[in-house]
Symmetry: C2
Subunit: 205 residues, 2 copies
Amino acid sequence: MSTEPFSLAKPLARLIEELHRLPGVGPKTAQRLTYYIVRMPSEDARALAEAIIAVKEKTTTCSACFNVTDGDPCAICVDSRREGSQICVVEDPLDVLALERSGAYKGLYHVLHGAISPVNGIGPDRLKIKELVRRLEGASVEEVVLATNPTLEGEATAMYIYRLLQPLRVKVTRLARGLPVGSDLEYTDEITLTRALEGRQEFHG
Amino acid sequence: MSTEPFSLAKPLARLIEELHRLPGVGPKTAQRLTYYIVRMPSEDARALAEAIIAVKEKTTTCSACFNVTDGDPCAICVDSRREGSQICVVEDPLDVLALERSGAYKGLYHVLHGAISPVNGIGPDRLKIKELVRRLEGASVEEVVLATNPTLEGEATAMYIYRLLQPLRVKVTRLARGLPVGSDLEYTDEITLTRALEGRQEFHG
């Protein structure tokens, strides 16, 4: 960003730099957004700025499930309509959003805030795993759904948690691996096909 | 965005919505950015919010060239090292940035803030064209470089300005059309090839 022309006004250069620090926002995008904000009505720009401050000041993590929330415990944890005997373990708050959007899960969550990754120096202690075990010891949970990502790190994390939960005699499941809906068999990678074959289910016509 | 799960905390939903209003920021990107901001150190989030406010409060448009600036006249207009006899006419402030980055232009600018577009209801009156004519009448400008975009609208705008400037007997040029450097002749569209042929220049080996 130091190659900016000398003539760029300071407030512009500063906002370009701040936006450029966000993930997925390259220097060109940062420039485009900056000039867009310059032309926005003042109240809209202020609303954006205030929303950024508010998201820091008015959110916290739920002390039960560690999802990001504006109240503790969070809206899901206090919702009596949810199935309290199921806990779905995810890596990130965004995974909760994705699962909620499916509408197919009605239990509670537990957000690990990452996955075990020796390469990046992230051991189990950095994740909310101890807290999961403690939570399970204190409540009558019947099923833990492991919904970590289908990646090396996600799988390693799931395996670690699975072993840890063995003494608790709780049912541990994980999301099915298989063909994504709408995909094309021809272009499906071998590992996914292998998992889809292994997980094949009886057909009810 | 109304399909968000009911359980999403208000401050999160609000920031997702505000970010989603920015150009090129879809709902997924808005979510990702929101959760990234949640995890940012507070001072970084505050710096971003303040930069947004500052860009609105501390910038204005230069009363000479209409570029976005933090002082009026802008740093380019007051720079005595710049060639005051040349004015380069561009559609947007971002075009000034692009030309400055090339380092190949040392004159002044005039930002139109758009292009003539009957389809979008943008006539010449909505652009800083009157201001350009007035500026040329008051100063000893020798060359006007038309650097509007090589699009239908940009070309129409250039043609309009060209005709308007005829009585002023100022030299009017425009950026060359031709092959972009690093491109492949085989994949160049016909219009660009036609312009490249029309604009061919004597080869000095």
